[in-house]
Symmetry: C2
DNA sequence: GACTAATATGCGTACATGAGCATATGTGTA
DNA sequence: TACACATATGCTCATGTACGCATATTAGTC
């Protein structure tokens, strides 16, 4: 085994210190790639299956060049990966944490919206609290 | 109880469909706010305690006006909240999901780095796999 | 090699946004 | 009211980047 076997994190935004040089920039870059609607649509479209650039362009309503570039951006941070099959490039999700990430953010936004709606109509809840039905 | 009591999500990037108008933009906005190193440093600094604008400016090495603006951006998406106490504004984390979010992203980045390092030196692992030591 | 389909890339433009500076606003005190 | 401290906000400039367009590159087929 290796000399390092503790499950401790080197990069940990939650802990004081624990932030090597450039770590913040890495994290920021990851979020930045996910901060574009066009790229989120691609991620959304890729959740069910591996797809080609043209298929994704059509499904997301974006141009082929833009789709290609956005996919490269997603690949540059390891969210998706590329596989050549004949003349086409097939992209697929390769970072499993993206699923939880999206769930977290979507859940958080729903809770927030539910709170805002609740201010006007306390009877309406968007079903954002999955605990104790 | 309300008429809506199923724990199902209205906004769910993982599920086909399930994306109301503007949902993608909401999610993108959330990520965008987290995609700035200066703001991540603020979040990092706020994890241990509620702090004032000046204290945060000093701790993160940013100017007072910029710190104020960044805090407003974080507040605009509900990550932090503001509380007045005398002449100063005290900011604090108000979205608990941000903790898990940071853990997820940091963990994902570490795994990725470990994989990259492993290519050159297969003996080194950054301890990013907490399961089965 | 010539041709076609799929994908990637170079380039110019438009737009969003972060930083610095000065200054306005707000809050408590004498 | 005058003052001091803390915070928020116009304003301008510089930079990053998404888009559209044209075109280069790659892979397969004849």
């Amino acid at each position: 085994m290796s000399r390092v076997n503790t499950p401790q994190r080197f990069i940990n935004l939650r802990q004081a210190g624990s932030l090597p040089d450039g770590a913040i920039e890495l994290i920021a870059r990851r979020f930045a790639v996910l901060s574009e609607p066009a790229r989120l649509r691609l991620v959304h479209a890729l959740f069910d299956a591996e797809k080609s650039v043209n298929a994704l362009a059509e499904e997301t309503g974006s141009s082929q060049p833009n789709t290609s570039r956005h996919l490269q951006a997603l690949a540059s941070v390891g969210v998706v990966s590329r596989r050549r099959e004949g003349p086409q490039s097939l992209y697929s999700i390769c970072d499993p944490s993206i699923y939880k990430l999206c769930d977290l953010v979507c859940g958080s936004i729903e809770k927030q919206l539910a709170r805002q709606v609740g201010v006007f109509n306390p009877d309406v809840r968007l079903g954002a609290q999955p605990r104790r039905p």
